[in-house]
Structures are given as C-alpha cells and as structure tokens.
Symmetry: C2
Subunit: 129 residues, 2 copies
Amino acid sequence: MRRRSEMLTDVELEFMVALWEIGKGSVRDVMAAVTGETKRAYTSVATVLKILEDKGYARSERQDRSLIYSPVVQRADYEGRSLKNLSDSLFGGTPTALVARLVDNEDLTDEMIQEIKEIIDTRIRKDDG
Amino acid sequence: MRRRSEMLTDVELEFMVALWEIGKGSVRDVMAAVTGETKRAYTSVATVLKILEDKGYARSERQDRSLIYSPVVQRADYEGRSLKNLSDSLFGGTPTALVARLVDNEDLTDEMIQEIKEIIDTRIRKDDG
DNA sequence: ATTCATGTACTAAAACCGTAGTAGATATAT
DNA sequence: ATATATCTACTACGGTTTTAGTACATGAAT
C-alpha cells in the first residue's frame, strides 16, 4: 500500500528540470532538453510527462496535434521542499547541521566558500533592513 | 533492469537514522529507536534491516539467538553523499545555489542564520590556518 | 484516396518498495 | 517433555517506477 510520494522520483525530477529549463515545450522539446546521458524512447518521455501532470507538477495544452507541457510547481518551491525534506529526514530538522556538513566537504573551493559567505551576509543585511 | 540505488529509500533512511542513534542494536532495539509515528510490524523492521545489510549500510553479528546490527556507513558520509546528490540533481551541481535557496526560506530564524554565518566563518578561519 | 509520418492513449513488463504473514528453529517456563 | 515465546528466513502482495511497445488518430505527401 505505498502511496505515491509528493516528492519526485529521479527520472521525474530529471524531466522536470528540463521542463523548468525550457519553460514550456512538447514531449520532443523536453526530450531534447534532458541533459542526462541515458537515451530514452519518445514514449518513455511522454509517459513520465503525463505522470508529472497527474501529480500536479505540470500541465498540458493542446497545440495542433501536440501537447505543450509547462510547469505548475515553481522550481524554487520544489528546491525549498527538497531541502526541507532532506533537513527533516537526515539533519534532525536543523538546517544549520545541513550547512555544517556541506562546508565540511573538502571539495569545496575557497571561492565557493567565499560565495556562500556572501550569500549569508547579504541575507543578514537584508534582515537588518 | 533498474539497479538498486546507492541512496537509501525513505524507510531505509528512517531505520538507518535509528541505528546511527543507538550505535548498535537488535531488531527490537532499532524498532524502539525509530522516531516516526507510523507503527510497523517487527518483521517489517527485520526485513528492512536485512536490506540495509545487503546494501552494505549495516552489518550484523549474532548474539545468542538475535542479530545485532551496527552501521557500516558513517552518518557523516551519507549526509555528504545526500547533499551531493541533491546538489547535482536539482542545483546544477553548485552548492552555493543550494545555500542560496536554503537561506531564502522565511522560516529560518535570525538565530539560525547567525549560526550558519558562524559555521561559515569558522570554516574560513580554519582554511587560513 | 492511399501511404507515410507523427502524436497521444493504452498497456505491459520487470524491478523495486513497503509491509507483513508464515514457517521453522530455539530458548524458557512449567 | 511439552507448551510458549521469540527470533530469523522466506515468501508474497499490492502499488510504484522505469521503460517502451502497440494501437489508433490525424495531418501531409503523392
């Protein structure tokens, strides 16, 4: 009795990212915009797009014979939802723990760290008014 | 021909978190340590623990009649792996975009932001020497 | 009009996920 | 020794996920 998750599966996310990138497009457009290396049949893409529509992540409108898909859920929304999900499931619901682990990564360059610092500082300044 | 993902599923993660918390324990111990609200049968927990062992996330040793499970993968490792996964799949592989979205969240309190800032600053100081 | 190309809808198959029952082994209690 | 409790191993079931084939409609080309 599994219930379909409100989060996207790997392939759904891959296609949704493509859809966010192009803004809107046909099955063929989305298929072309997917950056992953695994080839998929046209009908596979069509099926997943329909699933995305069923899940409420996208909608479609007919144009000539084709369906033109466009996102319903904003990418920023989903990004936030994903972070909340990860934070809750693995970091005890504390985003600070998440950041701590992130900057713990040695692969992060000095530039990246500096950039992150600026993001935080900017946010703090914004709070102050 | 899907290949089982190297990432954990929701329930696997829930149990693995419990195992990380207690360090090691029997099926019953893990079951007791799970914080989620959904009740699960003893055998369900046992099955998932075995899957975790199959996936290489945990190992078991016999003690009397019971199996005592313990983590193989460190929590910090998995946390990092999860962040990389999320960053790659949704944030174009740029952790800075991830942080930007994180601090974009209005639910974050000033204290949290400040704490995050300190984490970053500490990391920068450590880099300097 | 017949053929060809293209598009969606339907269907399916194989693996996976989540859950848990059943079987069988074994220790404990009476 | 027999009953009871507990534990693991095996199995199964219903739904999801991923992939794609087939059927059918429709517009374009000859």
